[in-house]
């Protein structure tokens, strides 16, 4: 059993990132898409924290900013989602095509 090294963190983070991307691309429910985005952001946070073992605290500080950002992003995203639901009575992302020409 080799000690847990940076590379393990990076593998876990990459797996989380890929899960998140797959979630964003495949799920129809906007809530799940937003949750998948959280997964991607957290994969990034994991990377930042893992690298801060080597390069110092900068990474951890940046990770806190990312969490804040994620919270804000989730709030805004859910807000848009509620407004959208009131108009279309749906939360399916493939029905959101207002931007189509």
């Amino acid at each position: 059993m080799a000690p847990i090294s940076t590379i393990h963190y990076l593998v876990v983070a990459a797996a989380l990132f890929i899960l998140g991307v797959i979630g964003v691309l495949t799920r129809r429910n906007v809530v799940i898409v937003l949750m998948s985005i959280e997964l991607i952001l957290n994969a990034v946070n994991l990377n930042l924290v893992a690298f801060s073992r080597i390069w110092g605290l900068h990474g951890q500080i940046f990770a806190i900013f990312v969490i804040t950002d994620a919270a804000a992003e989730a709030a805004v995203g859910l807000g848009i989602l509620i407004a959208f639901f009131r108009n279309k009575e749906t939360v399916n992302i493939d029905e959101v095509d207002l931007m189509k020409w």
């Binding site: 691309l25 992302i93 493939d94 095509d97 931007m99 189509k100 020409w101």
Partner: protein, 710 residues
């Protein structure tokens, strides 16, 4: 001076009669109608006589001065609201009074119009007794008397024109009295329309005078014309007088406007006597005589008038030679006699013209009333071919008519001799004999007059009876109300001429003396100009007589006797199918005369537009139609063509704008932008958020792969 000062009552009396007939006539008894209407005219006659008598006293105190009474201002104001510009640029006020003028000329007309009018009214009581529309007839007659008296007594041209139109209207109404008969209503229309042509001339003449003299008052114009400011032959005065003469031609039935008068015989016979022989048709003569001061300044107009008068006299007389309708012969005879009057006026013998009007009124009214009596006796028959031998059956009519025939034929001492001879003598001497050709025309006419009048008498009263037995059975002398006027008129036809007994026969020609103030010149300036002075001086030089005058007198008596002789020879015992001497000599000439020289047909071709060749109308109406065609096709066609061209160019320009400007230049770039650019671009915008995300991921993977591999 009561009657003179209230001269305006003379026309108003018959007007009141007409008004009563208009409002209540339908409900009145025939006796009442006769009493009101005949009474009104008789009263007017008495009034007129008294007024003229008082005028004589007035004229004695104011020699040569006409009596003028202005009742009120009818048209125009003194405040300058109706000012206009005269020919010389000076302002003039338009002003026409309801004013009445009595001078010797209007006095003569006043007396014979009311006098003859009264007699004819009395005659009508008997003549119209069995006719429907009795009150209508008398109402029209009274209205006519009112108009005629207004015409005569007017002191200005405008009021005269009112009377002028009024008599025209009454003439129309009375010609068309039997309006259910098509020929009568057509004849009425014809009279009215032909008269309108003349009236247009009168109106234009009136306007010219107003423009040139700045006044329409007769006394003022006469005064100005005689003042010597205007040259003899002044072109504007010539134009004005010619226009007035056109009016006179229409009313007094001169060439070429005489055509209505023969047809006017469709009216009841008293109407023919009153309006179309004695009074209305002399209105033209009256108007010209009234304007004598103007005519004297226009020798051209005088010449025209003399020539037209002479030829009308001859023309109508030739037609009268062969007509078979008793009233038509008399109608053409009237036209012919009116021609004489205009001949007299044209050679400057105004007094002689007026004198002939005066005598003619009596004998022609008598002839017409006699003809009416004959027609009455013949149960409505007017064709002389179906008469004959009436002299024993209706002796009073016979003798009175014979007196009138002697008068019109010019046999002394009957009235016509004096007036006709006076005219012929004036034609002979005028302008030093320049008009002797006109004298010859007048002389030949006199011969013809005698012939056709005696032809009428012989065919009607002598020869063998040619009527059917039924008609013959009914022949009867007319009632007293008809014969008494005949007798009175016969007395006048004998004696009326004696008023103008010429100097050469030891008389004093009082008639001419009486008229002298009207026709004498006031301007000594012009006396020097020999020719014109002679024209207007009322012919004073004839006071010394020449042997030629006696010679001419005998000559014209010879003409009358010759006419009598020829008629006697040809028609003395005309039986059924008697021979016309003219037809035997020259059948062609007879046909032409019988058809009145085809003048009516020519007018039909030229003016009425009833004649067509194929689809093309002839004459003036055809010209109108051609003008209409030209207007509608060429003028309007050009306009429409211009419109069509504009529309076409609009279409082209809109096509250009739509397809070239909008299509190629504006929409072209738009299409260019749309198809290659926008369709390609819009393919990218498919709207599914997750696809956008996939693209981003692919891009991200791509970049990562690119940097990793490098």
């Amino acid at each position: 001076m009561f009657f003179l000062n209230n001269i305006w009552l003379v026309p108003l009396l018959p007007a009141a009669g007409a008004a009563i007939m208009f409002f209540f006539g339908r409900k009145l008894q025939k006796q009442t109608v006769s009493a009101v209407c005949v009474g009104a005219v008789a009263l007017a006659f008495v009034f007129a006589c008294l007024a003229v008598w008082q005028y004589n006293g007035y004229a004695h105190d104011n020699p040569g001065k006409p009596f003028e009474r202005i009742v009120y201002t009818w048209l125009g104001t003194d405040t300058g609201h109706m000012n206009y510009i005269k020919h010389d640029g000076a302002p003039a006020a338009f002003h026409a009074d309801a004013g009445f003028l009595l001078d010797p000329l209007s006095a003569i007309w006043l007396l014979f119009v009311t006098g003859v009018g009264t007699l004819i009214h009395i005659y009508s009581i008997g003549y119209m007794a069995h006719e429907g529309g009795y009150y209508r007839f008398f109402g029209y007659l009274n209205l006519f008397m009112f108009s005629m008296l207004t015409l005569i007594l007017a002191n200005n041209y405008v009021l005269m024109f009112v009377g002028w139109e009024g008599v025209g209207l009454c003439s129309y109404l009375l010609i068309g009295f039997y309006f259910h008969r098509g020929s009568a209503s057509t004849a009425a229309n014809k009279a009215f329309i032909v008269n309108r042509i003349g009236d247009a001339g009168f109106l234009l003449g009136m306007f010219t005078i107003a423009w040139y003299f700045g006044s329409l008052r007769l006394t003022e114009i006469t005064h100005m014309a005689r003042s010597g400011h205007f040259a003899i032959g002044d072109p504007i005065i010539t134009a004005a007088t010619l226009l007035l003469f056109v009016g006179a031609c229409g009313k007094s039935a001169q060439l070429p406007l005489y055509v209505w008068l023969p047809d006017a015989m469709e009216g009841p016979t008293p109407v023919s006597a009153l309006i179309h022989a004695a009074t209305m048709v002399t209105a033209g003569v009256y108007m010209v005589a009234r304007s004598n001061a103007l005519f004297v300044l226009a020798p051209g107009s005088m010449k025209t008038m003399a020539i037209i008068g002479a030829f009308t006299a001859l023309f109508a007389a030739t037609i009268a030679l062969v007509q078979n309708d008793i009233k038509r012969v008399l109608a053409y005879s009237t036209v012919s006699q009116l021609g004489y009057m205009f001949l007299a006026l044209g050679v400057g013998a105004f007094a002689a013209g007026a004198f002939h009007v005066f005598t003619h009124a009596f004998f022609k009214a008598l002839l017409f009333l006699g003809a009416g009596s004959v027609i009455h006796a013949m149960s409505g028959e007017q064709d002389m071919r179906n008469m004959g031998d009436l002299h024993r059956r209706i002796p009073i009519t016979h003798w009175t008519m014979f007196i009138a025939t002697f008068a019109i034929a010019g046999i002394p001492p009957f009235a016509g001799f004096f007036s006709k001879d006076e005219i012929l003598w004036q034609a002979w001497t005028s302008e030093g004999g320049a008009y002797r050709l006109l004298w010859l025309v007048g002389y030949v006419t006199a011969l013809m007059t005698a012939f056709y009048m005696f032809r009428l008498m012989f065919l009607t009263f002598h020869g063998q009876p040619r009527m059917s037995h039924e008609v013959e059975h009914h022949i009867h002398e007319s009632p007293k109300s008809m014969t008494v006027p005949l007798i009175i008129l016969a007395l006048c036809a004998i004696s009326a001429g004696w008023l103008g007994w010429p100097h050469s026969l030891g008389g004093s020609n009082r008639f001419e003396k009486f008229l002298e103030p009207v026709f004498a010149r006031e301007a000594p300036v012009l006396q020097a100009e020999g020719e014109s002075a002679q024209l207007a001086a009322g012919r004073k030089e004839e006071e010394h007589t020449s042997p030629v005058e006696y010679f001419l007198m005998i000559f014209s008596i010879a003409a009358a006797v010759a006419g009598f002789g020829m008629a006697w020879k040809a028609y003395r015992d005309a039986g059924k199918g008697y021979a016309e001497p003219i037809a035997e000599t020259s059948p062609q000439l007879y046909t032409v005369l019988l058809n009145k020289y085809y003048v009516d047909e020519a007018y039909d071709y030229a003016f009425t537009g009833r004649r067509k060749v194929g689809d093309v109308r002839l004459g003036v109406m055809g010209l109108g139609e051609a003008s209409y065609w030209f207007d509608s096709r060429v003028i309007d066609g050009t306009v429409n063509g211009a419109g069509w061209m504009t529309r076409l160019s609009g279409t082209i320009s809109s096509w250009w704008d739509k397809w070239i400007i909008d299509g190629v230049l504006v929409n072209g770039p738009a299409i260019l932008a749309r198809f290659p650019l926008s369709y390609a671009t819009r393919l990218l915008q498919w709207g599914l958020v997750q696809w956008y995300a996939l693209v981003m991921v692919i891009g991200l993977v791509g970049f990562v792969f690119y940097y990793a591999v490098r």
